[in-house]
Symmetry: C2
Subunit: 226 residues, 2 copies
Amino acid sequence: MHRTKVKVAEDALDANTTIAAANRADFDRQGVRVVNFMSAPGAGKTTLLERVLGQVDARVGVLEGDVQGSADADRLSALHLPVVQLNTDPGFGGECHLDANMVRSALGDLPLGEIDLLVIENVGNLVCPAEFRVGEDARVMVSAVTEGEDKPLKYPLMFRTCELVLVNKVDLLEHLDFDLDRFLYNLEAVHPGVEHMLVSARTGEGTEAFRDWLGAAARATPAATA
Amino acid sequence: MHRTKVKVAEDALDANTTIAAANRADFDRQGVRVVNFMSAPGAGKTTLLERVLGQVDARVGVLEGDVQGSADADRLSALHLPVVQLNTDPGFGGECHLDANMVRSALGDLPLGEIDLLVIENVGNLVCPAEFRVGEDARVMVSAVTEGEDKPLKYPLMFRTCELVLVNKVDLLEHLDFDLDRFLYNLEAVHPGVEHMLVSARTGEGTEAFRDWLGAAARATPAATA
């Protein structure tokens, strides 16, 4: 069973790559830059977006991926941005990630002609979301200091394939045994030179840098790969 | 593509159920009770096991599931218990969960005749591990208060299919905006009546109850279902 399953998974990844390229072509045609935003459950993705999206110097839309419910989309709707919720639970008792086809199915509901930047908030998971391109220009991941220093070593693909790592919940550092130097050493080991920012979604510390990064991403020339 | 993938996933789940039953028969024959231990990344599974496994009133073995590396198994080896590491990265760029066949592949390395209780520490993920039975008698999940109150609503299958929920990192409650009553309300909404314990792996608070629960699980009569 295991061998068969792996083969099927590879076919699924091939199909995913094809559809991701089609998404990418559509985004490029409309002049929309796309950020795939990922983390473990509860790392603070939505709270970070609540904090910065209203202040980004660009027209922003959001695609919210969740297994079930629309709690995060409801929170972000308060920012008066176009927000579309995508639930993954019709498939497989709940898919643990967004794939290119799911994103494609939502494109018709997004006002692509009226936005410069689309932020896709992926399902909270450090494994499979990293394996599925959805047509994004850049990947941003959030790693909360409450999760421990070992996460880059345990989930290397996620940390290796992103352009920016937000180290969140730094307001709690004084109450934790978390060794920030060790975390950054582990991060550098799996993804040498990757950009990182220390932030607190709760206090706002460091989040201006993320806001500006998103603004720059919205104005960037498209990357060469899908 | 999506429809095809779902069909394949259902076939894989059928095969998984068959193999889980075979695992279960082997465990029963050897008189071993099995706990499937799950959580999001960084919720504190390994630290909780470090805290209690040496004091459980039973002979305990551990199967450690990780995408990559043996950091957690190395930590638990210090307890002088039989520990076997299972890495999921040969498949699919890293499987996000353990399935029954992966567990089966490790049974030969486990001294089943010499233990009463096997704790299977699953891959850190709140979605797919809940979908794959591995032959366990009981499921225990850890939800850290740093992850927020909304997790039961966002990952309902995980919270719904476990026998015990450990609410971890309660030593941090005074530094968080976490509303414990709201979390417990959400938990009750998705899994009415499920047992829960408030614990801190870091300070040890509440962990004696988990230690005793594991001891009782080791002496329990096998449940009727695989």
